[in-house]
């Protein structure tokens, strides 16, 4: 009995020192926030752009697979159809980037409405729009080549185009 009591006391002591659990959450540091000048409406359109880009990525993944669907299209009958869909998808993405630029250049709905996010706008124009325009021109060119190749030669035209595409010759 005595031993048991000693054991209990010992356990209580151990519990007392160890029972607080792990310090999993650290105290946050004190960082001023005045340098964070990105404004809410601009952040919101950027967030929705991330969703658009991810949706586009998933759609391209579906294109590689060529499959049937319930909520996203997973099947294309021809290369021409898939390329044409890709071009439309890129145009949608471009339009949506343009809208972000407009919103971030002159955000409304807040007191800070006059805040023009020059740097973000420049980044979107130089990096994103540049890539979009290059990509769209590339897809449109490929679609045009394929369309012409298929006009009189149909399947042979598509087969040849596909092999050229694989070898980076188009």
């Amino acid at each position: 009995m005595k031993l048991f009591c000693v054991f209990l006391v010992a356990l209580a002591c151990v519990g007392g020192t160890m029972g607080n659990g792990l310090k999993c959450t650290l105290n946050p540091a004190n960082v001023p926030t005045s340098w964070i000048d990105i404004v809410d409406p601009c952040v919101k359109v950027m967030e929705s752009q991330v969703k658009t880009e991810i949706a586009a990525a998933m759609k391209y993944l579906a294109m590689i697979l060529n499959n049937n669907d319930t909520n996203i299209r997973q099947e294309w009958l021809s290369a021409e159809e898939a390329l044409s869909d890709a071009l439309k998808l890129e145009a949608e993405v471009t339009r949506s980037i343009r809208n972000i630029i407009i919103t971030c250049e002159n955000p409304k709905e807040t007191e800070t409405s006059s805040f023009n996010d020059y740097h973000l706008v420049d980044y979107l124009i130089t990096d994103f729009l540049e890539e979009q325009h290059k990509g769209q021109r590339d897809l449109a060119g490929k679609l045009s080549t394929l369309g012409k190749m298929m006009q009189t030669h149909g399947q042979l035209g598509e087969f040849l185009f596909d092999k050229k595409l694989l070898n980076g010759e188009i």
Binding site: K23, N27, N67
Partner: protein, 221 residues
Amino acid sequence: MLFLGIFSVLLLTVSAEFCYSDVENACSTNPKSGGLTLNCNAQYGAIDTLQADLQSFVNANIETSFEFLLMSTHFGNYEASRDGFKGLYRKLSDQSWADAIDLIKYITRRGGKMDLNQLPRFKKSVKDSKILELTEMNSLAKALDSEKQLAKEALRIHNQAQHHTSQDADVAHYIEDHFTESLSERVRDLAGYSNDFKNLLSERDASVSVFLFDEYLKKTL
């Protein structure tokens, strides 16, 4: 004679599933059923029954990849500011993404199709909310659980492929080659990190320990 008769009947019914007979039909002067060559495909073994499981596993990998990506960006923000954790989760995210793409290629190699709507088989635990802005310790625990779930699913598919009536050794081998080994390594690493990290947290103020551990993580990448 009777045996020959049965044999030829058998041969006839079986030959109906061959590409050659489809082609013969298609090339004949009067092709039946539109001259389709449906048997000229890459399917054999148990791929038709395993396909749905493999599709779910692809989607499980994609889902896991996005979760890790969110965890990575969380540790990359100025408040968390943990480059090591950010890098670790980015690496795990990219691995799961690459695994998903590779598995899709395997499914199509075996004449199957990918269906992005085939949901992952395993249920996320109730505690698993969509919020992935976790503390360092919680994130390691979550990462370990996620990788273990993938590893368990890989074992389950491997088991199915092996014990299926038309034992598909190719699926089993593919899973072994591309998933089980790499996943057991990931599980071991994360279990190790969790335990080392846990020991560091028993200090009164773990801030510096966490900083050093993050620096160590960065070096292991």
